[in-house]
C-alpha cells in the first residue's frame, strides 16, 4: 500500500492561532491497528463516558473530543497526583484508501474504539482464474 496516499495538508492561512482551551486538555494514548479490511484506532480516555465523547469527521480530518465530569474527590485534600482529569483531544487525517462513511465508534471502560473500513476498491479480493 505504498502507492496510494500522499500527505497533503489542508490549505490554511499563513498564521493560525493555536487554541488554548478553557480547561486542561490532554492527548490520549492511542493504538492504531491495521487489519485486512479496516483500520482500528483505540484511545485511552479514563473517566470519559459514552455521552461525553464526540467524534467528528470534517474535510478528511477525524477529531476526537471528550469532556470530563467533575471529580468525586472535590473537597478532599489531594495528597498525591500522578494523573489529571481534564478534556481529551486528538485528530487524525483519514487517507483516501479508507471509507470515512463507514466509521463505527464504540466506547467501553474508558477506551474509545473507532473502526474505519477500507474503501471497497482497496480491499483485498480473490481473483477467480477462468478457464478449465
Amino acid at each position: 500500500m505504498s502507492d496510494e496516499t500522499r500527505v497533503s495538508k489542508p490549505e490554511r492561512e499563513t498564521v493560525v492561532p493555536e487554541p488554548v482551551e478553557s480547561e486542561p486538555t490532554y492527548s490520549p494514548a492511542v493504538d492504531i491497528i491495521e487489519k485486512a479490511d479496516s483500520v482500528a484506532i483505540l484511545a485511552d480516555m479514563p473517566g470519559v463516558s459514552r455521552d461525553d465523547v464526540e467524534v467528528v469527521l470534517e474535510k478528511g480530518v477525524l477529531s476526537i473530543d471528550a469532556r470530563l465530569g467533575e471529580s468525586r474527590t472535590v473537597g478532599m485534600k489531594l495528597q498525591r497526583q500522578e494523573f489529571e482529569l481534564g478534556s481529551f483531544h486528538r485528530c487524525f487525517s483519514v487517507g483516501e484508501g479508507l471509507d470515512p462513511e463507514g466509521i463505527e465508534a464504540t466506547m467501553k471502560d474508558g477506551v474509545l474504539r473507532l473502526v474505519i473500513p477500507m474503501a471497497e476498491r482497496y480491499q483485498p479480493r480473490r481473483i477467480e482464474i477462468k478457464g478449465k
Binding site: 500500500m1 496510494e4 496516499t5 500527505v7 495538508k9 489542508p10 490554511r12 493560525v16 493555536e18 487554541p19 492527548s27 494514548a29 492511542v30 493504538d31 492504531i32 491497528i33 491495521e34 487489519k35 485486512a36 483500520v39 482500528a40 484506532i41 483505540l42 485511552d44 480516555m45 479514563p46 473517566g47 470519559v48 463516558s49 480530518v61 477525524l62 477529531s63 468525586r72 474527590t73 478532599m76 485534600k77 489531594l78 495528597q79 498525591r80 497526583q81 500522578e82 494523573f83 483531544h89 486528538r90 485528530c91 487524525f92 487525517s93 483519514v94 487517507g95 483516501e96 484508501g97 479508507l98 467501553k108 471502560d109 474508558g110 477506551v111 474505519i116 477500507m118 482497496y122
Partner: protein, 145 residues
C-alpha cells in the same frame, strides 16, 4: 499508510518526551519482570481525617481480574492489562497504550479498616474508598484534676 496523525496545530514536545519515558519504563520493566515498571496505573490519592480515596486510571480492563488488598496502612493493587489480540496479517501502526501485568503499592497516612474498604470501576477509573481504622484515629485525652 492510510491514516496518520494530524499535527499541524498541536505539536507538543512534552507529549513526545512522556511517550519516550513510557517506552523506556516498559523496556526496563520487561527486564526486571514487572512489565509496566511500577508507573502504571497512575494513582491519585485524596484524604480527609476520616478516609482516603485512591483513584487509578486503568481503562479497558476487566475489574473482576483486579486484586486489591489492604493490610494496616498498605494498599496493593495488582492486575493486568491485556494487549489487543492481533489476527494474522494485522499489525500495529502505532502502539502507545501500556499493557502487561502491573503492581502498585501505597503506604497511606493512616491504618485502614480493611472490612469497610469499597472499590468501584467506572469508565476506566478505579476508585477505592478506605475508611480510617478506629484505633488509628487521634483521641483527645482529658486532663484530670
Amino acid at each position: 499508510m492510510t491514516i496518520w496523525e494530524f499535527e499541524t496545530m498541536d505539536w507538543d514536545p512534552w507529549r513526545d518526551l512522556s511517550r519516550m519515558r513510557r517506552r523506556v519504563n516498559r523496556l526496563l520493566g520487561e527486564l526486571s519482570g514487572t512489565a509496566l515498571g511500577g508507573t502504571f496505573p497512575p494513582l491519585n490519592v485524596s484524604t480527609t481525617g476520616e478516609k482516603a480515596v485512591v483513584t487509578a486510571a486503568v481503562p479497558g480492563i476487566n475489574p473482576d481480574e483486579l486484586d486489591i488488598s489492604v493490610e494496616n496502612d498498605v494498599l496493593t493493587i495488582r492486575g493486568s492489562r491485556e494487549p489487543e489480540k492481533l489476527q494474522e496479517g494485522e499489525r500495529y501502526r502505532r502502539h502507545e497504550r501500556d499493557h502487561g501485568p502491573f503492581t502498585r503499592s501505597l503506604s497511606l497516612p493512616f491504618a485502614v479498616d480493611a472490612d469497610r474498604v469499597e472499590a468501584s470501576y467506572s469508565n476506566g477509573l478505579l476508585s477505592i474508598e478506605l475508611p480510617r481504622s478506629e484505633e488509628s484515629r487521634p483521641r483527645r485525652i482529658e486532663i484530670k484534676g
